[in-house]
Symmetry: C2
Subunit: 560 residues, 2 copies
């Protein structure tokens, strides 16, 4: 068979390949392209419609933000809470005296801070924009403590901000909240090569941490597209998922310790370097995914795995979602401890990749589904042998119809681009309605099919300009049951929106899924939490919020 | 060299070995022996002195407990809190009516429940014994809710109890607290072979869960000696560590969801089956390691890995702790994804094994340190090759002086018994002062040396009967920086105790270690939490306790 011989030839190639890659980050596409997408979509009004994928998109540096619509206009139901004080000259003077350095305070109150302050007011997606007049950049945990205590005593609302690469509007102000930016706290405090424990300030950029670890043959157990800008404190505060979760697990398991500051200035000194410490409630867990609503993370301690010297990437075509599930089961079985990614892309995403930018796809012919598998292990020869056996099995059993294996770094890059190029290309026609969902794996793709049918039978989908919707597609982290449902459109349209929402949330809720798998709540999902959490859980969460932040100054108007 | 040829011969043997083992539990020693140890040590009065190792020891079935000293006598400083109501006939009637079945209530109030109730009053170590007159065994979450609400409304103190295999007295009453035993809630509710997600009642016995998973080629990501008796709800409530932590990580990462009941009867319905769900504070984490002080876990959802078909065990002698660290680094490097255990035993433990029960040790000659390495992976041939390369390296570099590789299951058992036989043998001379500590890996063994020197220079250590201390030894989970400091003695002696405590806690505190790595606080460590946690952290913990259990009815006199 043609496809079998192709795999056989790929297998022969991989056997003679002698280049291995030390760094996972090398196999990502260049970041520049992704930024452009959002410039066409800034008119969106639905909270969920513009959501992007944490690991698929990369933040712009500091775009001129003055054209971005204010969040207060996009969400007219949000009103400034009058309990918060307005910033005065005295407040600004306090912060300037406290932080000592001119560059540590951006003062838009006593002068026009213009372009200096706007990047802190708006997000990289150009979707959210606040009205802050003050940004403070403390340089130490003690300074964070003094800043927060002062704000709490004076009823000044604040927004903790890391790299500002979030996707749900969590890291920018809505009104005049003071931005507390962590970028000046950027020291790596400790690393131990035997235990793999890293302790670092919250403001260390993820890629800086990972590069530091690479020199010591370790990796940061989190990887995402925004790694060049996002900060590890923000990663922890948003419980970022990303591409290494399948292999290395979540922050809740990897974070060993946290140093954080509560609104009243209390320093939570739980920066343990120990893998085991069963002495009381694990309070630090509340800060993981707490999105800066109960305190500010100032440092983390994290367990970092050894870096894998061997890496392989393969790309397959499959005929049904049932076969995708079979392939996943086999990959878990046979690749087991070396499996580091199992990504799903439907055939439509791959066609759109080709249609929009003429990309030559790795496989000839059409398949309804494609998967990308990555292995990383300690021994190239063993990993290749395992992959070979896996490929022989899935080809022999006709689980997989066709496939290719990367032979070198360029080929790996090319295969990864079939997955990572999707988010960008979906914006090609105008805008995208994007949803980041956790769904039990057996039903993961049914939502895409149902949504496609729903919009098609409503006459909204088509090839011509009179149809607002271009297509309904799905891709995502199969290994984590995490689907990205995307609906590329020619224009934003209330009728489309009504056909999608709340249907999509109800569908997910019926299956006990999550309406936000890895992006968090922020402003975007605040209103929809009830689809993923019971009233009891929401009540318990509000209790926690009130316990730690009774004045409600921390990141208001968001989360719950 | 003799030792090199021995390894070479061992390597040849493993290459021709064709038996692999599906089940890790098969390679443990038989449980009966461990029980005896505690019968010689029941007179101990120090909280820490009798602590045993969660995965080293196994619970007795139901020993006659009437000879065990009451905790209220061992800890005369503990007084019954008069705020709690005393149990009346009306209370008992309520529970009998509610639970419907005779076997669901053990009533020691209106009749003499004698031997029926004592096993619930005392722990398997025969160290703690309470005065309860009532045991209730709810059969559903709703029943747990009604029981707890009634107790809370009537100020009746309670003790949640699973398999009652804990090591710090957390699961038995001190005074007349009602025992709420979860053993009737023992259904496996759900398992999905694709995602590996298991949902089960809290009262399912760990081994039952693991056997169930074995049939589906998965494992429970926790393994410990008490697996035949302990319940998974208790495992989660105590954040049990055990032998698989090095490979599969902690409960905080593996637990996906929890169903629990708060004292006021609220059912915390957070039984998510999703690997990713970023919608609010991760409140379930507070129940992991909460030791039943804020609520009762009634069910868990947990991510279970694939079962490894290949397994190898090796045993080495090394000349210094520096070399042990080098070997660990190399094992992490070269065995990487297949390393599933790296256990440390000092030479003295091995000598005592030989001395006490005449065990023939696997290696000839004396070495100051020994390590046991276990690998588990998906491919026997690959794993053997990796281990072989590792062995060649550590032998060639003289990191390891001598070593053997198990060729079959009997040999694996034999090697494991050199590690797992230690706790039992240390009780041979009378009693053991035992400490379970987390210490930064570079200093892990220094404490043993310092303690030995300290007790020796105080004239307490020697071969003759006039010396109370037999030896000072160390072993433990090197891979988790978890040391078991053990001091076998001929008799319990106040002078020895004073020489050990608080020195040991101060030593650990100075290095930011943990005074309880995996056993929890219970009664045993309640007084010592300040050595591992700051005043701030303790204050925050008390806040959490008060938030969820304002009446303080949950597991009183313990934890914090």
């Amino acid at each position: 068979m043609a496809c079998a011989s192709r795999i056989a030839s790929a297998l022969r190639r991989i056997r003679c390949a002698n280049s291995t890659f030390q760094r996972v980050s090398l196999i990502r596409p260049a970041p520049q392209i992704a930024q452009r997408r959002w410039q066409t979509t800034q008119e969106a009004t639905t909270s969920a419609s513009q959501e992007a994928n944490h690991e698929d998109d990369l933040p712009a540096g500091a775009p001129s933000a003055k054209t971005i619509k204010f969040t207060s206009e996009s969400y007219p139901e949000l009103k400034r809470d009058p309990k918060f004080a307005e910033i005065t000259k005295e407040h600004v003077t306090f912060f300037k005296d406290l932080l000592g350095s001119d560059s540590a305070v951006i003062d838009g109150l006593t002068k026009d801070a213009g372009e200096d302050i706007e990047p802190f007011n708006s997000d990289w997606m150009r979707k959210y924009r606040g009205h802050t007049k003050l940004v403070v950049k403390p340089g130490s945990t003690e300074e964070v403590s003094k800043v927060l205590k002062y704000c709490n005593d004076n009823m000044l609302a604040v927004v903790p901000q890391g790299g500002n690469t979030g996707l749900v509007g969590g890291s920018v102000p809505v009104f005049d909240e003071i931005v507390i930016n962590l970028s000046r706290m950027n020291n790596i405090r400790f690393f131990d090569e035997v235990s793999g424990v890293l302790v670092a300030d919250a403001g260390v950029i993820l890629e800086v941490a990972d590069n530091y670890l690479a020199e010591k043959s370790h990796i940061f157990p989190l990887d995402l597209g925004a790694k060049g800008s996002c900060q590890i404190g923000g990663n922890v505060a948003t419980n970022a998922g990303g591409l290494r979760l399948l292999r290395y697990g979540s922050m809740h398991g990897n974070i060993l310790g946290i140093e954080a500051v509560l609104p009243d200035g209390t320093i939570v000194d739980d920066l343990s370097k120990l893998r085991k410490n069963n002495t009381g409630y694990d309070i630090k867990q509340l800060f993981i995914g707490g999105e800066g609503t109960i305190g500010i993370i100032t440092a983390i301690s994290i367990l970092c795995p050894q870096r894998s010297p061997a890496m392989n990437v393969a790309y397959f075509g499959l005929e049904s979602f049932e076969k995708v599930q079979q392939a996943f089961r086999e990959a878990k079985n046979q690749l087991s401890e070396i499996l580091s990614a199992f990504e799903l892309m439907d055939g439509r995403t791959q066609k759109l990749l080709h249609k929009a930018n003429g990309k030559k796809l790795p496989l000839e012919g059409d398949h309804p589904f494609y998967c990308l598998i990555e292995t990383s292990g300690s021994n190239t020869e063993h990993d290749s042998a395992k992959l070979e056996a896996f490929l022989e099995y899935v080809m022999g059993e006709e689980i997989v119809s066709d496939g290719v294996l990367a032979q070198d770094q360029t080929q790996m890059l090319n295969l990864w681009s079939c997955r990572e190029g999707i988010p960008e290309v979906l914006g090609h026609w105008g805008g995208v309605y994007k949803y980041d969902l956790s769904i039990p794996i057996s039903e993961l793709y049914s939502l895409v099919e149902e949504m496609r049918e729903r919009l098609t039978s409503a006459g909204l989908v088509g090839d011509s300009d009179k149809h607002p919707v271009v297509d309904v597609v799905g891709y995502g982290h199969m290994g984590d049951s995490n689907l990205h449902l995307n609906i590329p459109t020619r224009r934003f349209d209330k009728e489309v929106e009504k056909a999608i929402e709340p249907f999509v949330y109800e569908w997910v809720a019926k299956r006990n899924g999550s309406i936000s798998a890895e992006h968090g709540l922020g402003i975007a999902k605040k209103a929809f939490i009830g689809y993923s959490r019971s009233d009891t859980m929401i009540k318990l969460m509000k209790q926690i919020k009130n316990l730690y932040d009774p004045n409600g100054i921390m990141n208001p108007y968001k989360y719950i």
